[in-house]
């Protein structure tokens, strides 16, 4: 017997194709009794909808946009690349994606950009922006208009509708803590924690997780307060130099934000990479090189390709009210050492 189609379903339920369609798409204008009749028939004949046929008939393109910070760093570049790479294959799935940028540290501008979206014909948005009341409200507005929203990389815990696609930052911090403890061997000393800003929730969560683990090793390792560099090289330098002079000297550095370049330059100049365990976030071509030359010991990362594809899948599922495979959409906290570093890909096909 062949897989049942809408026709079979219509016959089984004793209604027309149009009614079947209405029920399948939970459209209004069908008597409750009829709805139930169709639903029973669905179960009875074990009907599963052919979504590709549906999409074909709809002749609809799903339009999703990524709203990214407008400053450029390695990580954002990576994301953009990955979106571009994915976009090509999305043609097969009736999905077009675009990118817009907004100054991440100006919540009003971000919200403004988000509000602009509504007037265009967009079906879903992936938003990467620090959690703020403005952004949260803008998300709510988008959702009110029926747009699908996911929180991309940056959690938006107060906008419940927006699924978070990104790593568990506390777990990431714990992982760094454990590696730091292990990699420093039996050495005594302090561990320096550097970040661009502690304003962001992500940083706070990472710090929390990190401390949870470091506490267990407190007899051996002392942890510095989080030092904020504000993305400024001079400031980083000052902080590190100061830390170098303190007693006991530090044995490890946790680079908590993903823009490690400037800090690493300072570390280079001081020539302390070799005797210090340095752990950072995100696998970029820069951190790759640092893993290879040994100046960074480990990197905690999330698979950017996965991040992008997952966001799109979740958005599409939300838009079409379809279920998605939760386990497939969970982003892992990945540990990258020089030894398990995946090769960088340049060609996209096989």
């Amino acid at each position: 017997m062949d897989k049942p189609t809408t026709k079979d379903l219509a016959k089984a339920a004793g209604v027309s194709l149009a009614t079947v369609d209405r029920v399948l798409n939970t459209r209004a204008g069908v008597r409750q009794a009829t709805v139930e009749r169709v639903q029973r028939a669905i179960r009875e004949i074990n009907f599963v909808r052919d979504m590709s046929a549906a999409n074909l008939a709809r002749k609809k393109e799903y339009k999703v946009v990524f709203l990214l910070p407008d400053h450029d760093d390695e990580f954002i570049d990576l994301i953009q690349n990955e979106i571009a790479k994915t976009a090509r294959f999305l043609a097969y799935e009736r999905t077009v994606v675009s990118i817009i940028r907004a100054p991440a540290n100006d919540p009003h501008r971000v919200a403004e950009q988000m509000d602009n979206l509504s007037i265009n014909e967009i079906d879903g948005v992936a938003i990467m922006a620090p959690e703020t009341p403005q952004v949260r409200d803008a998300i709510l507005r988008l959702e009110a208009q029926g747009l699908a929203v996911v929180a991309f990389v940056s959690h938006q815990p107060n906008a419940e509708g927006a699924n978070y696609v990104g790593i568990n930052n506390e777990a990431a911090g714990r992982t760094v803590g454990q590696l730091m403890a292990r990699f420093t061997g039996m050495r005594q000393g302090t561990v320096l924690v550097l970040t661009e800003t502690m304003q962001s929730r992500d940083s706070q969560e990472r710090r929390l997780g990190f401390d949870t683990i470091m506490e267990k090793y407190s007899s051996r390792l002392k942890v510095s307060p989080s030092m904020e560099t504000y993305g400024d090289a001079l400031r980083s330098e000052k902080i590190i130099k100061m830390a170098l002079q303190s007693q006991p000297p530090f044995v490890g550095i946790y680079l908590m934000n993903h823009d490690v370049r400037k800090t690493m330059q300072v570390i280079d100049e001081l020539g302390i990479a070799q005797q210090t365990i340095i752990i950072g976030h995100e696998l970029t071509s820069y951190t790759r090189a640092r893993l290879v030359d040994g100046s960074i010991d480990a990197v905690i990362t999330q698979d950017v390709g996965h991040l992008v594809r997952s966001s799109i899948r979740v958005l599409r599922a939300k838009i079409t009210h379809m279920p998605s495979v939760a386990s497939q959409e969970r982003i892992r906290v990945e540990i990258i050492l020089r030894e398990n570093m995946p090769e960088e890909f340049h060609s996209e096909n096989m």
Copy 2:
């Protein structure tokens, strides 16, 4: 302007839909000149085929099968679960998957099972079996019949057509080596390497990678030859006890194969888990529990869900002669500590 369709293409090339179709599917019976005319038109109007429409019209289900070893261990269970989980969502994509089992260590039986496939109507096969001449030949026979084949978890380097979907075992070994060196701190001693059998190419590759790294630490760590347990608890016990008596005592154990249960029992009985760094492979509910209680220090794993979905995508791409995203199909060597262990999923939807 709308995305061009076959109709537009037919018009642009000055041929009929049928001819366009023949060219698109590289079917015989079209004059070379006509073929070229169509292909030029494809470029000119920038035509991209809508595969879902094609599939719909074909009314074809892609049938793929996983050929798995017929012994049961945690890892195989995991794979089966993941296949079952994935299967449900594959209905949307006109793909049905099934599983057949064969005694992995009997190449003739495996080959026999593979030959049986041909007579059924199967489009693609994912094969998990040690590399042997029999299996290699059977793969070649399948391919000769036009079946798509991927080597699943076990590399088949001599059957070139069969894409390998699995981790780079040498990199996995190197990663274990690095972790072993780091986690043992500054301690001196020997590291025991235990495996079910060194017959398998995978074990050999892991060992190779492991040694590459351990060599750098040879002043501190000595590595035992690979001890083969043949999956036998008594044998494991004997080996470990013997190793315990030797001088210097061992500081670490590398469990190279994925069936760690029996060995861990012996280790438990001897009560040596705490002072020993133990690293194994694959994240199963068993190794999870061991990570949590601290008796295993790290696990190297490949994402089984990824493994399964990737195999299916690659098979489908091969069957339909479509490109696939290489970077998406690369399986990572994942390091799992207690801190970055993903939660186990029981519900499949969201």
